[in-house]
């Protein structure tokens, strides 16, 4: 496991201090036309901590991620990165601030080779002029190494990424985010498509990232996985927050109950009376 | 942001000034012409007649342009309001004629390239007592359809005369170049040529792409060295044929149907042997004028027979007279 953490330690920003607020969201809201996807969200991502965002489908988790990763700008409230208030105009800007995201739908291009996908958007070039060549050998080598560290060996680094299994693709996406993410790592439902063993690998990675000083945002609808690594828990429901507690303030049972429906579940059990 | 905008605007301004400056110091373009109106004539519509002019023109053909110019000049000269419409598709052309009938025009001039398709609309016109004249195509059927007069050339006669002439010049294996797939008129011309020059072979080219025309002709002339004459059916194709001939080193002579300024010059320079002109300008002009006279005075031209505007041969012997007219786009 140490080889994995080596990468994290190498690529993490050397100036991170534990507890330092990296992302601060105050009253964030987002509407798509007449639909209000998020309202009044307060969230803090601190260095060296894992913030878990839980919620059922349609709760607004994806929207929250999109705002943090620069895909869509927020309509209400303020977003502060390193204390400076700003709005991301594109994912490129978020990446430049050291915020790397592993999306639920993986953001890979199926027809392209594994190494091209790994370096997509952050390619290594031989020079700064417009048609500078890519450092292809180097990129292939690095991609291969990083994947090996995660425990995946692809048969051919040149094969189209679409030929890999879902779990392998997920690991490529995570390895990519870890390699390029220097300050904040956002993992959108990382264990949803994985088996138990691979989920274990991902969770260990999450812990290692936290230990290396990164701020981690872990989105899931699996409270057990969340409780294994989280320092802070937020549950979203229909665009609003229904629970916002530190690890010390909440137990796994309460998390699970709230996730399953909280008060409504209690009512339902009374009605069904079995 | 503001600074780069100012700089951007300045750059555009400088570029504009430079362009205008360079524009002033160049030569070889259009001659400065004195104000010339295209011939006097009465104000449009002063005779009170409206005439619909319907053709099967494919947009962009210089040949049809001349017909249109003739028609427009005639409209000016006689004070007629001209309504021009066109569609190469027969069914759609029939609809255009029907439109004219519905808008109660005073007269209709139309090409009759696909007589069966147009018969219904022409009948509707004659039933509504609107006089119809045919032009350019349909020389054998115009009377049956109910048209009063016809102005045009006989494609088959034109083709045959071309064939006769090139045979007289010693051609044994002419090439007839069709530049529009599926055109009945063009096929008729080549068939005419073949009837009096039996060794004639047809070749299809893509008339909308000059480089394709040139390459295809060049390939053919290279493949078959026995070709001694190239007959094209349009002026621009003839120009491409000249290029292909030079590139392939062929000794074939070139002749063409239809005329334009460049071809006229090539005839003068002896590069093109002759051109068979059907005088499109006069077809358009006479169709409109004849309708006007018919409406005004009940006059009738042709004596029950078509009024032939061609074929007329333009070659070295008469090019000097004709050249200035091609430059004015009236011949």
């Amino acid at each position: 496991m140490t080889v994995m953490t080596d990468t994290l330690a190498e690529h993490a920003d050397a100036q991170l201090r534990k507890g330092e607020p990296l992302i601060e969201m105050d009253g964030i809201g987002k509407s798509y036309g007449a639909i209000r996807a998020l309202r009044g969200i307060n969230l803090r991502v601190n260095a060296g901590e894992v913030t878990c965002v839980l919620g059922d489908n349609g709760a607004g988790k994806s929207t929250l991620i999109k705002i943090m990763s620069g895909l869509h700008p927020h309509n209400e409230g303020s977003l502060k990165v390193d204390g400076k208030e700003l709005t991301f105009g594109s994912p490129r800007e978020a990446l430049d601030h050291g915020i790397a995201t592993v999306y639920q739908d993986l953001a890979v291009v199926s027809l392209m080779e594994v190494w091209r996908n790994f370096f997509l958007g952050s390619e290594l070039r031989a020079g700064k002029y417009p048609l500078a060549g890519l450092r292809i050998k180097e990129m292939k080598r690095i991609a291969d190494e990083e994947l090996r560290k995660m425990g995946i060996v692809v048969k051919d680094i040149n094969q189209p990424i679409g030929t890999l299994s879902g779990g392998q693709r997920q690991c490529v996406a995570i390895a990519r985010a870890v390699y390029f993410g220097a300050r904040v790592l956002i993992l959108d439902e990382p264990t949803a498509a994985l088996g138990v063993k691979q989920s274990g690998v991902v969770l260990k990675y999450t812990a290692a990232a936290r230990d290396a000083g990164l701020g981690v945002v872990f989105i899931t609808h699996n409270p057990h996985h969340a409780y294994l690594v989280g320092d802070h828990f937020i549950i979203l429901k229909l665009g609003g927050t229904v629970l916002d507690k530190k690890r010390s303030e909440v137990g796994l049972d309460e998390l699970t109950t709230q996730m399953a429906g909280g008060d409504e579940l209690t009512e339902l059990s009374h009605e069904l009376g079995r | 942001m503001r600074l780069s905008r100012i700089r951007g605007a300045r750059f555009v301004a400088v570029a504009a000034v430079v362009t205008l400056g360079v524009a002033a110091c160049s030569s070889g373009g259009k001659e400065a012409t004195t104000e010339d109106s295209s011939g006097g004539g009465n104000a449009a519509g002063s005779s009170g007649y409206t005439i619909a002019f319907v053709t099967h023109e494919t947009p962009g053909d210089t040949f049809w342009d001349k017909i249109k110019s003739g028609a427009e000049q005639a409209a000016k000269d006689t004070g007629v309001t001209l309504k021009y419409s066109n569609d190469p598709d027969a069914a759609k052309q029939a609809v255009l004629i029907q439109n004219a009938v519905d808008s109660k025009v005073n007269g209709i001039a139309t090409t009759l390239v696909t007589p069966d398709a147009l018969a219904g609309s022409v009948k509707a016109a004659t039933d509504a007592k609107i006089p119809v004249v045919g032009l350019n195509a349909g020389i054998d059927q115009y009377k049956k359809l109910g048209a009063l007069m016809y102005f045009g050339s006989d494609e088959t006669v034109a083709g045959t005369s071309a064939g006769t002439r090139i045979t007289a010049e010693g051609a044994k294996h002419p090439l007839c170049v069709i530049h529009q797939a599926g055109s009945v008129a063009l096929e008729a011309r080549c068939a005419g040529v073949k009837s009096s020059a039996p060794g004639t072979e047809n070749l299809q080219v893509n008339g909308t792409d000059d480089s394709a025309v040139t390459s295809t002709l060049q390939a053919k002339l290279t493949q078959d060295k026995s070709i001694d004459y190239v007959v094209t059916l349009g002026a621009t194709v003839a120009l491409d044929a000249l290029k292909a001939k030079d590139a392939s080193g062929s000794a074939a002579k070139v002749a063409t149907f239809d005329l334009n300024t460049e071809i006229a010059q090539q005839i003068k320079d002896s590069k093109v042997e002759f051109s068979i002109d059907q005088q499109p300008y006069v077809q358009g002009y006479m169709a409109v004028t004849a309708l006007y006279l018919n409406l005004k005075n009940g006059n009738d031209l042709g004596g029950g027979k078509p009024v032939l505007t061609g074929p007329s041969f333009v070659d070295k012997s008469n090019i000097d007279v004709i050249l200035p007219f091609t430059q004015k786009n009236t011949r």
Binding site: V108, L111, K155 | D61, L239
Partner: protein, 356 residues
């Protein structure tokens, strides 16, 4: 910084090696590449015509075919790149004539040096490319439809403006205007190598293909092009400048359209304003025959060049073989279908041989 928990470094523990790792043989890797399928098809067609058409066998014929291929191939390179980027441009055929007409009429009317007109025409064409790309990105309407609109606008404008300016539907003789001979040297000259005439467009074509191949395979821009064509959302999410890349691709098409327009103008002098229509599909066919996926994200510049060459060979080969020209279109269609099928078969054969 918190301390990272480490156990003593496992110095001898190697990274896991796969037991079933397969290094694909060179021949397999070669066959899987899209341009190889097209090359096989091209060779087959070439041999076919060598056998059936004696006139095909000369050097001059070969270079005539190269010339014909280059006038289609130059624009096809850009159209192919655009298709790899996931979009279509149906205005690519007409814009060649627009470029020539703008240059010709501007200079004839105002007496400008032809070089100035050529530059103005270039700016105008790049602007059209920009508008195409901008509209596609801003409205989200498929590029097929947007460029269809541009195609009709340009087709009508070509005719209407020419008629307004020159009084007829073909542009005027510009051979006497300053700059003609130098522009002709750049865009429309030829030189003889022994008995064979080589047109400069062939040289330009080869240069553009090499440049495109470099960009696609070996630069960051190429990576972006494949990404925005394969999965535009993913590309954007990882920081690829989606809008700039796509607009850039449309402008590349209009640039090369301008280039061929200049060749047409300086070779043929007068242009028919209604020309150019129909070529837009030839460019797409050349790209598809060369292995470019219609859905985007996959393709190759060399393949597109081979596709254009196949078109040139087929259209002129039929003439060289002396076949009945009425069947021309049918023969062309059959040849092209065969080329695409061979291409597909070769690709399937190579992927089926992969182990595991």
């Amino acid at each position: 910084m918190t301390n990272v928990q480490t156990s003593p470094p496992p110095s001898t523990a190697p990274l896991p090696q796969p037991s079933n790792r397969v290094t694909l043989g060179l021949s397999n890797r070669l066959l899987a590449r899209p341009e190889v399928g097209a090359l096989v098809a091209a060779i087959l067609i070439f041999i076919f015509f060598l056998v059936s058409a004696p006139a095909f066998r000369s050097g001059e014929s070969f270079f005539t075919i190269l010339y014909q291929s280059s006038t289609i191939g130059i624009v096809a390179v850009a159209v192919g790149m655009l298709m790899i980027g996931g979009e279509f441009d149906l205005s690519a055929g007409v814009i060649t004539i627009t470029a020539g007409l703008v240059n010709s009429m501007l200079c004839w009317n105002y007496g400008m040096n032809l070089w100035v007109g050529a530059v103005v025409s270039l700016v105008f064409c790049l602007f059209i490319g920009f508008v195409n790309g901008y509209l596609v990105m801003k409205t989200g309407i498929p590029s097929f439809l947007i460029t269809l609109g541009t195609f009709f606008v340009l087709q009508g404008a070509n005719l209407g403006v020419t008629k307004l300016v020159t009084g007829s539907v073909s542009s005027t003789d510009i051979s006497k205007i300053d700059g003609f001979s130098s522009l002709q040297a750049v865009f429309a000259s030829s030189f003889k190598v022994g008995p064979v005439t080589v047109w400069i467009t062939v040289i330009w074509w080869i240069l553009f293909v090499a440049l495109a191949a470099w960009i696609l395979q070996r630069t960051r821009t190429g990576n972006w092009i494949f990404a925005v064509g394969g999965n535009p959302d993913s590309a954007r999410a990882v920081g690829v400048p989606l809008i700039k890349t796509k607009i850039g691709l449309f402008m590349t098409v209009s640039f090369l359209g301008w280039f061929v327009g200049m060749h047409l103008l300086y070779r043929f002098n007068t242009l028919q304003a209604g020309n150019g229509v129909g070529n837009e599909f030839l460019y797409i066919i050349a790209a598809v025959v060369g292995g470019t996926l219609l859905t985007g994200g996959y393709g190759n510049a060399i393949g597109v060049a081979i596709g254009a060459f196949i078109f040139g060979m087929t259209s002129l080969g039929i003439v060289y073989a002396g076949w009945d020209p009425n069947w021309f279109k049918a023969f062309l269609g059959v040849m092209l279908l065969l080329a695409v099928l061979v291409n597909l078969y070769v690709k399937r054969m190579s992927t089926a041989r992969k182990v595991g």
